[in-house]
Symmetry: C3
Subunit: 136 residues, 3 copies
């Protein structure tokens, strides 16, 4: 298990972390199995979607802002209630296949940290789990 | 693999299960790896978010109720169609890191069962998976 | 790790893949642990919910279409921006318990591929991970 830190610079922002996760996988020595990518935060999330056009990640964040509005009769009184709800809709983790030591992402897929209450430092945990094969 | 039962007392309700999952992990003897928390139900879900202020979990449930309304032209005719959709938006499982035998949750994170069609008894399955280390 | 291909026939469609995942698990020889079901796509997703009444999966897809509308000021200019957002709200994977070589789904649960930009061929990856037990 390893982790790395990402610094966000805006309140709401999607930050691509594919290369950082790939490197953590490589350093772990995992060959075949899966990797869990987890954020130990309650106003940030992780998701997988298109990396080729950064507009896609922006659209995802924008739609979430509209779906979970700022003005709603929230009970939580710290001003960041919608950040908690948005993060929960995406989820605190993604789990990805690994084969021959490489993340098995699709051609267009990247991994993103979703910041909903920045700017902040966020930690991302990477847990590789080897799936013992049954020989060559 | 173990499981435990949670009893909900309202139609819609978030019930914290962090301590029950922690105990199941401990009893499994897992040292390092991950744990899957899964509900074998279609109108309940599991999510991870703030446990310090219970208002946050209530806000999450409340926003889901507004996003997925009662009055919509649903095809499923058993009266609980929105419960299915709400549960699907959160998901039937979460996966969490474990290190030195302890769940690696963030300071503010807790694990919640989301009940969308209670009151009922719900079962929660806990699957610890050891990630064989390469250490000493 | 194995994979199979599913062909969708409409733009938006939920296709049940429970039996295909069950077969992939069986063929892998996994006994106890978990299985990751992952789509390497950015406009398709995977979810778990009721299989008994196919109306439920249709309701899920229909609500997602209303929540993430076609007419929104999207940045991504390829005409399928809402497909990306809908797929992200469901997620690219599910993780499921396995015991005695069988998927531990609840009575009503099935696994679905969610197509948001079809018709297309989609690949589904299945990664079984044995959780070494501590003996009988």
């Amino acid at each position: 298990m390893t982790s790395f830190v990402v610094r966000s610079s805006r309140r709401t922002e999607a930050i691509e972390i594919t290369d950082l996760v790939e490197r953590a996988c490589h350093q772990s020595g995992i060959s075949e199995g899966l990797v869990l990518v987890f954020v130990p935060h309650t106003t940030a999330a992780v998701f997988v979607n298109e990396r080729a056009d950064p507009c896609v990640a922006r659209d995802i964040m924008e739609v979430l802002s509209r779906l979970v509005p700022e003005d709603f009769p929230y009970s939580h009184q710290e001003g960041n209630a919608p950040s908690h709800v948005r993060a929960t809709l995406l989820g605190a983790s993604v789990t990805l296949p690994v084969r021959a030591g490489k993340l098995q992402l699709g051609t267009w897929q990247g991994i993103f940290l979703a910041e909903f209450d920045g700017p902040r430092e966020r930690r991302v945990m990477v847990v590789p789990v080897e799936a013992p094969g049954r020989g060559p």
